[in-house]
Symmetry: none
Subunit: 410 residues, 2 copies
Amino acid sequence: MANLNLVESLVKERNAWPEDDVSVVLLVLDGVGDVRHPDFGMQTPLEKAHTPNLDSLAQKSALGRILPVDYGITPGSGPAHLGLFGYDPREVDIGRGVLEALGLDMDLEFDDLAARCNFCTMEDGVITDRRAGRPATEENVKLCSRLQVEISKIEDVEVIIQPGMGHRFAVIFRGPGLKEGVCDTDPHENGEPLHTPEPSRPEAEKAARIINKFQKLALDVLEGCEPMNAILVRGVAERPDIASMEDRFKLKAGAIATYPMYRGLSKLVGMNIIDTGTSVEDEFRSYKETRSDFDYHFIHVKGTDEAGEDGNFDHKVEVIEEVDSGIPMILEQNPDSLAITGDHSTPCPMKLHSWHPVPLLLHSNKCDIAGAERFTENECTTKGTLGIFHSMHMISLLLANASLLDKYGA
Amino acid sequence: MANLNLVESLVKERNAWPEDDVSVVLLVLDGVGDVRHPDFGMQTPLEKAHTPNLDSLAQKSALGRILPVDYGITPGSGPAHLGLFGYDPREVDIGRGVLEALGLDMDLEFDDLAARCNFCTMEDGVITDRRAGRPATEENVKLCSRLQVEISKIEDVEVIIQPGMGHRFAVIFRGPGLKEGVCDTDPHENGEPLHTPEPSRPEAEKAARIINKFQKLALDVLEGCEPMNAILVRGVAERPDIASMEDRFKLKAGAIATYPMYRGLSKLVGMNIIDTGTSVEDEFRSYKETRSDFDYHFIHVKGTDEAGEDGNFDHKVEVIEEVDSGIPMILEQNPDSLAITGDHSTPCPMKLHSWHPVPLLLHSNKCDIAGAERFTENECTTKGTLGIFHSMHMISLLLANASLLDKYGA
């Protein structure tokens, strides 16, 4: 993290946890950023929502906007969260297989290989439907457990299979000498035969051999199971070897998230997973209950992104109002520094992740109060004492506002 | 300065000085930036101060905010000023010993080694008080001159000693073959013996030997002088070899500062020191009197930082008002471009340097007028035609506004 070395070098030495009672909080409203659009009354959900608690907090906070990756770049959840956690998302590569496995709540160990897979339909050696007619998830679950029973080990490599939705599942290969660099067996269009998983570099030879065997064994197991009679293996990737937030920023970090993907991303940077329920209130209560167990809490709210992807403006407003009503529960814990933001924007008119800079509210007892009335995209721009900056720098501001950074130079 | 090579390459060739009468002015109100805080009536000193001249100038100027080093990074005076002078403070390292020597108005030559030292108390070979009971400065001065008389040369190395405040003094070692890379002799806690000054790299062997001898000789000289009967040597550093502002930007630069540290920092980048008095008015008059002798004037006002570090809001307001009343004296000289800013923020509620972006006013006859009413943190944010940017880029703006940069490309 060339850009962040200086910050790391300035993080203060502190008394052993838990004697020193620091609380840094990152509250992520996934996809919260939005744009004004005539179809939605020229207001964003943050502007439309009734948010007395966020308004009051905004009046005592610094505001700004963050660029998840770079100008015009729309991030997936992986890079977007890495930026928020203080990692340069352009430097860390999280493979597709790894993200899929994390999203299915699988435990990835270092040196594991992960792949995302499809059930597909094959006739006369040719793929005729890459998604096997989009089967019901129950069919998927059944066949995955059959595969798991029949193929638990290949050579000295353990095979761990986890069903996903519809035609999708994930596989972890665990054993010595497995390196990424194996091409997809997916021909990426119908009418083609399965590709042989070739190694793209010598280190990946064993992995390619194991995956080749896996694919052939799967064909045997699935014989006669039309339309799910074959599999495609894609996005084979190692768990990235990322220095933990504790190593880099001396923060003992805990993650509160209702969705497995975000717990998995947290684990990649060494966070501890905190048990929680399913509602925003459950999540905020989990912060309260573990406030003194960690220096840093990441709290992830999923609903804003889902509503954005559905283009459901009213529901996005509701989720924001639900968060607003829980804000006092967080403030009662007196965090030393608190950021409220999103990992990216998911504008309702687009129904997709986007590149638009995300509104950010930063609160501490030494923040640069913006003089804003509300926490909205527009206020974060026009009253933005923090300006517009790359999200990976937010960790520096959170640390500085919690008095956790030494001075640079004399 | 990878980031600034382009600017350097575009600086116009000009007629020999003094025929071409350019005046670029950087007026630094040290630590001027502040934050709104309930304890201080939710106003910053710039907001509270009565500043008719700065207000009037702000209405005709571009505004913005500058990051001294980077997001969340609190700079010392060294890095903060290097940024203002157009140097990347993350690339240039000014050692502690060098800063101490500069702060005591010592003349550093290239290849000199500088160290900051403490008088300390030693009993039975163990340091019992690293600050020798915080002696009066007069005691320090007496013992320094005794050390100087007894130890003026070690081998072929000249030793130059300068007392500081209380227990502190600085030493310059001047002679061939001295390189930095010598560990502190300071054990950094009481109850430990003096460390031997080991070289951390082969090039520093001679320096380590000389400093070892210096320390032993000092022990002989100070025998019986309890509590100041030993010394600690710390932060041994070479004068950094920095290209001058004249070499980089073709600016013949002069510095007006009442404090030695800032004159010293100016000398590091090749500025000439201009004699001045002790008041802000004296400093502004020095600019007036030398306007045609230099292309670039750095004028340093210390009072704002001192007031901030004392948490003395009212005094910070007074210093700002004192500066305000002198502004016409500067404007009468029609500088081609004028920046008024700080090296960093020193918020009264914090009583410390901080990371908060510093308000910047940039005036020229071609600046991007902001439409602001006043020069305050908030106006610099909300009317910031210059945005928020790293302070090292300010030199480019000063040069451009003084018509000193060529076009880039055709």
